[in-house]
């Protein structure tokens, strides 16, 4: 039951109906839990739910253990303490929470680590817990998403940023919340629980806007992403059989496919939640219009990179050892270069983990190193490039310059895609061979003699993708101006806005890639 399938839409219709009919907040939460269980049963299998329940219990128990220690601290706190004394007082209590925090995090992370090790060791995967034994792996639906969120929740409790919930059902509802369990966004459970505690009443405009966003997501996924996958799956499936020009086209389309697939899914997920009155974190902010690598990763899969920043990057940067190292680097290499060199370490750590999160092969480690090198070099060379710009008198505020920077950033992303295509999995040798294929076997005429339309991706498909991408680019551009296209549409006369939405429904119905004859492509970010 994929988010773009008929059964999901039927399920969603029934779920929303019940959700809005039941009057009390607890009943709405019960509806959410039942909906989650049903969804998980159909998509993941109920036996995999045991792992989610186990993680939920661990999270619940350890968060309360940590919290109790702090409560005791609160009870035992002397009335009059100076600021310094209070800091030291809490440090002592924080130390007491270290062990339960570490145990909790290790238990929660262990399943994810085990599956990652299993993948690296090529262990056979099984479908149910009953078949699970050492040397076999089970990858429960949405494992990495709820693991990351759970770890974040526990660390926040440990750092006294939040008060954990005592209601295990609320925690369970958040952990298994069906819109986010498959592909995220990696949510902040505390914020989610706060919203579940006070679910707003049905609001017609919000409900409509949520569904409009779902429709937009379906358009991106079914009309654009799945259509492109016809071409990219063929070319990347046997990349060395194709001409360089065809691979370049596949690489460009691959960028659009990943973006429309993942952001389309997020639109559906956020739209569904919005219609219920639940606000989720945004995961994309028009990333293909980014002007630099750093900007790109601030706008692409935002929740994942925020999680890495908050729970990996920042703890490293704030560690005493790192601060000493940072100081030493600055002393030796100067302020700018020293800082860049020092920050290389947390940056490389984050990027390698990001690579391993995407996949367990060497190609994904190479992918992580590629981005780590790129961001580091970008930092190091930033002042030099600024100087060059000044010397050459480039008009850095002009549209042309911005466009150049956008294309350059997208190219970096495009190139990273080539690192992980089939074929380069054979290692550096495979990657070099691919580069040679791009140059020596370019055969540019293949783009013009109609050959690229012979792999199932027709000229009509290409035209649909072209027009679709223009529309998406336009909508993204408007969004960068801090406006929402759907808000602009909502301001139009009823005939015009209804025409727009009905046209979009027709486009999805007619041009969407679904139904028998298509093997509906899974969402790319499902399965992490």
């Amino acid at each position: 039951m994929s988010y773009n399938s008929i059964p999901f839409l039927i399920f969603l219709g029934i779920f929303l109906l019940v959700f809005f009919i039941v009057p009390k907040n607890w009943a709405k939460i019960a509806t959410i839990i039942l909906g989650n269980l049903f969804f998980y049963r159909v998509v993941g299998g109920l036996n995999q739910l045991a792992i989610v329940i186990a993680i939920n219990l661990v999270l619940y128990i350890f968060s309360l253990i940590i919290y109790r220690i702090y409560v005791r601290g609160e009870d035992e706190k002397p009335i009059e303490l100076s600021k310094m004394e209070e800091v030291n007082y809490w440090k002592a209590y924080k130390k007491k929470t270290v062990i339960p925090s570490i145990i909790g995090i290790l238990v929660i992370v262990s399943v994810l680590v085990y599956t990652k090790i299993g993948k690296i060791c090529d262990w056979p995967s099984v479908h149910s817990i009953a078949e699970l034994s050492f040397g076999k792996i089970l990858v429960p639906l949405g494992l990495s998403y709820y693991t990351f969120s759970s770890v974040g929740y526990l660390i926040d409790v440990y750092k006294r940023r939040i008060t954990p919930t005592r209601n295990i059902f609320l925690l369970f509802a958040s952990l298994t919340f069906f819109p986010i369990i498959v592909e995220g966004p990696i949510s902040n459970y505390d914020k989610l629980i706060a919203q579940f505690n006070n679910i707003p009443k049905f609001d017609y405009d919000r409900f409509c806007k949520g569904l409009q966003r779902v429709l937009w997501g379906l358009f991106k996924k079914m009309v654009i992403a799945d259509r492109i996958s016809i071409y990219t799956s063929v070319v990347f499936g046997d990349v060395f059989s194709y001409a360089g020009a065809e691979i370049v086209i596949a690489a460009i389309l691959n960028v659009i496919q990943i973006y429309t697939d993942f952001s389309g899914c997020m639109d559906i997920v956020i739209g569904v939640s919005e219609s219920m009155g639940i606000t989720l974190e945004e995961n994309f902010k028009s990333p293909l219009l980014s002007i630099s690598v750093a900007d790109f990763w601030r706008r692409w899969h935002i929740t994942l990179f925020e999680w890495f920043r908050n729970y990996i990057y920042m703890p490293i940067v704030q560690a005493k050892l790192f601060k000493r190292f940072h100081k030493a680097c600055r002393k030796k290499f100067g302020d700018h270069l020293g800082q860049c060199i020092a920050l290389m370490f947390p940056s490389f750590a984050v990027w390698i983990i990001t690579g391993l999160w995407h996949g367990t092969g060497k190609d994904y480690i190479a992918w992580g190193l590629y981005w780590a090198t790129l961001t580091t070099m970008s930092n190091i060379l930033s002042p030099t490039l600024q100087k060059i710009n000044m010397i050459c008198n480039f008009r850095t505020e002009s549209f042309g310059w911005k466009l150049f920077r956008i294309i350059r950033t997208d190219f970096f992303y495009l190139f990273s895609g080539l690192i992980v295509v089939t074929g380069t999995k054979h290692g550096f040798h495979g990657f070099l061979y691919l580069m040679q294929q791009l140059v020596a076997e370019a055969r540019i005429w293949k783009l013009f003699n109609g050959d690229i339309y012979t792999y199932g991706f027709t000229q009509a498909d290409a035209e649909i993708v072209f027009v679709g991408v223009l529309i998406i680019a336009f909508v993204d551009y408007i969004n960068t101006k801090n406006k929402r296209v759907r808000d602009l549409i909502a301001e139009q006369p009823i005939v015009l806005r209804w025409t727009i939405w009905i046209s979009l429904i027709v486009v999805v119905l007619v041009l969407g890639e679904y139904g028998p004859g298509y093997s509906a492509a899974e969402f790319i970010y499902k399965g992490f």
Partner: protein, 505 residues
């Protein structure tokens, strides 16, 4: 305060109204898109056409056996009965009840004639295997609760079939999922079907003149009562119960065809069940003589009448229903004058169709006459010229010899019943029918005789009960008359003293 409450209430009502209107528009657009993208075929027209008919006396429900046999224009001409064939190809048993219900939505006929030909379907039949037949029916019905019920019935019937994917499953309910890819093949006819109410030009009847097959009357008469499979029995019981509950006049029949004895026992069982429930049952395959069917002329294949057979069947059946059911004669009634107009055009079509069948019969007879002369021809080129007919199957076999291209000027068409197959040693080097699974065994002729070619030590050809052994030298060409189901001639061609020799076996 009261004013603001009123305004809020008004606002709420307005939003509800807007939502309902929006949903109605979406529903309307989605339904029209569904109709637009569906297949356009005569099957669909048979379903949609009944909506445009008025005051139909007899609705004939069934599969292709029905729409090729019952001629509404003839029933009108002879008895003043208005009738319509609500029938689609390869109908599956659960659809029969749905079709009755569908007919009831737009007509109030005096009689339903339900063809139970399909009630003998095997339990091994799968939904996937019958997809065409099922979709001919359900994907022609209006988007409605009846259609959903109809799909449910089909899934119940094929409940043991687990091979249906989730997407296939849902596409039966939302058939736009199946057809939306046909954007490039939309045409003017698709647009005409956008409201799913395209009329049927011949009241659901199809003039069959394209094909003709020479058949022999089967030896199938038996009183033995066989056994309906559980799911077929359940289907029939449900149908009978529905007809009883709805107080309908229904005549259950089996349309004529070349039915085997085993099949007849199943129909006997069905007939018994029908009669036990108080309805009449006629298996037309018990009345070949009374109907006057000539198997050598009246069929276009083993399962279907051509226009000659249809004429005889309609005469027989119309007379029967007139005699046993209270049907009014509307001839001369000005309200039915459109039927007189239809009669004129239908008779013209009937005449043309019969001429086509006559031509086909002549062709078969001519081929047979040619075949009779083959044994007297001793020149290879002349022999091949005579044998080369699309009414024959040609089997060329050679153990060791190279088959010379001069032996291969055949023009036999690419069809399972008119084919040429060439074997050298253990391998088949050519077959005009690319869909055959096994190169060494298949069926030929209108009687579907099985044949086997064994290319082991020597070549052995088995056709039906006949065995032919060929030596290892030379090329053997066997000519089989597909219509008369017999081997007409076999020749051996070999080289002797530097010259090519041909001999008849």
């Amino acid at each position: 305060m009261e004013k603001s409450n009123k305004a809020s209430k008004k606002n709420k009502i307005l939003k509800i109204v807007k939502t309902v209107i929006f949903l109605l528009i979406i529903g309307f657009v989605a339904t029209r898109l569904t109709y637009l993208f569906r297949n356009t075929s005569y099957d669909r027209n048979h379903i949609t056409g009944i909506k445009t008919e008025k005051d139909i006396d007899v609705v004939c429900i069934g599969a292709s056996g029905t729409f090729t046999s019952w001629e509404p224009f003839r029933a009108w001409e002879d008895y003043g009965i208005t009738s319509y064939n609500l029938a689609t190809n390869s109908i599956t048993p659960p659809l029969l009840k749905s079709y009755v219900k569908y007919a009831m939505k737009t007509q109030n006929p005096d009689l339903y004639i339900v063809d139970l030909r399909q009630i003998g379907n095997s339990d091994a039949d799968t939904m996937l295997g019958h997809e065409g037949g099922i979709r001919n029916g359900i994907d022609s019905l209006d988007v409605s609760l009846l259609r959903i019920e109809c799909v449910n019935d089909c899934f119940d019937y094929y409940s043991s079939d687990t091979s249906i994917s989730s997407m296939d499953f849902w596409s039966y309910y939302f058939d736009i999922a199946k057809y939306h890819t046909k954007l490039n093949s939309l045409n003017e006819i698709s647009l005409k079907n956008i409201n799913n109410n395209m009329p049927s030009t011949d009241k659901g009847f199809e003039f069959v003149h394209m094909y003709y097959q020479y058949l022999q009357e089967p030896d199938n008469q038996t009183d033995k009562i066989g056994e309906l499979t559980n799911r077929n029995k359940e289907c029939l019981v449900e149908l009978l119960q529905f007809c009883k509950d709805s107080n309908l006049n229904v005549l259950f029949i089996v349309t004529p065809g070349r039915i085997a004895k085993g099949g007849m026992t199943i129909y006997n069982a069905a007939g018994k069940l029908v009669e036990e429930n108080g309805f009449r049952f006629i298996n037309c395959n018990e009345y070949y003589d009374e109907i006057g069917l000539d198997f050598s002329k009246d069929f276009y294949n083993a399962g279907h009448c051509n226009v000659y057979g249809a004429e005889k069947y309609t005469d027989f059946m119309a007379k029967y229903v007139k005699e046993y059911y209270d049907l009014n004669d509307h001839r001369g009634d000005p309200e039915y004058s459109d039927w007189d107009e239809y009669l004129v055009t239908a008779k013209e079509k009937d005449k043309e169709s019969k001429k086509c069948v006559d031509d086909a019969v002549n062709k078969v007879n001519m081929a047979h006459n040619n075949n009779m002369q083959l044994k007297n021809i001793n020149d290879i080129a002349s022999w091949i010229y005579k044998a080369d007919s699309d009414q024959n199957t040609i089997l060329v076999t050679s153990r060791n010899s190279v088959i010379k291209s001069t032996y291969m000027p055949w023009r036999v068409s690419n069809s399972s019943e008119n084919m040429i197959r060439i074997f050298i040693g253990d391998s088949e080097v050519y077959s005009s029918d690319v869909e055959l699974d096994s190169p060494y065994t298949s069926t030929i002729g209108s009687n579907e005789l099985s044949y086997t070619i064994n290319c082991g030590q020597g070549i052995v050809l088995n056709i039906g009960n006949e065995n032919y052994s060929f030596s290892n030298d030379g090329t053997y060409i066997t000519v089989f008359d597909n219509n008369y189901n017999e081997v007409v001639d076999i020749i051996r061609i070999y080289d002797k003293d530097g010259r090519t020799v041909m001999e008849h076996l």
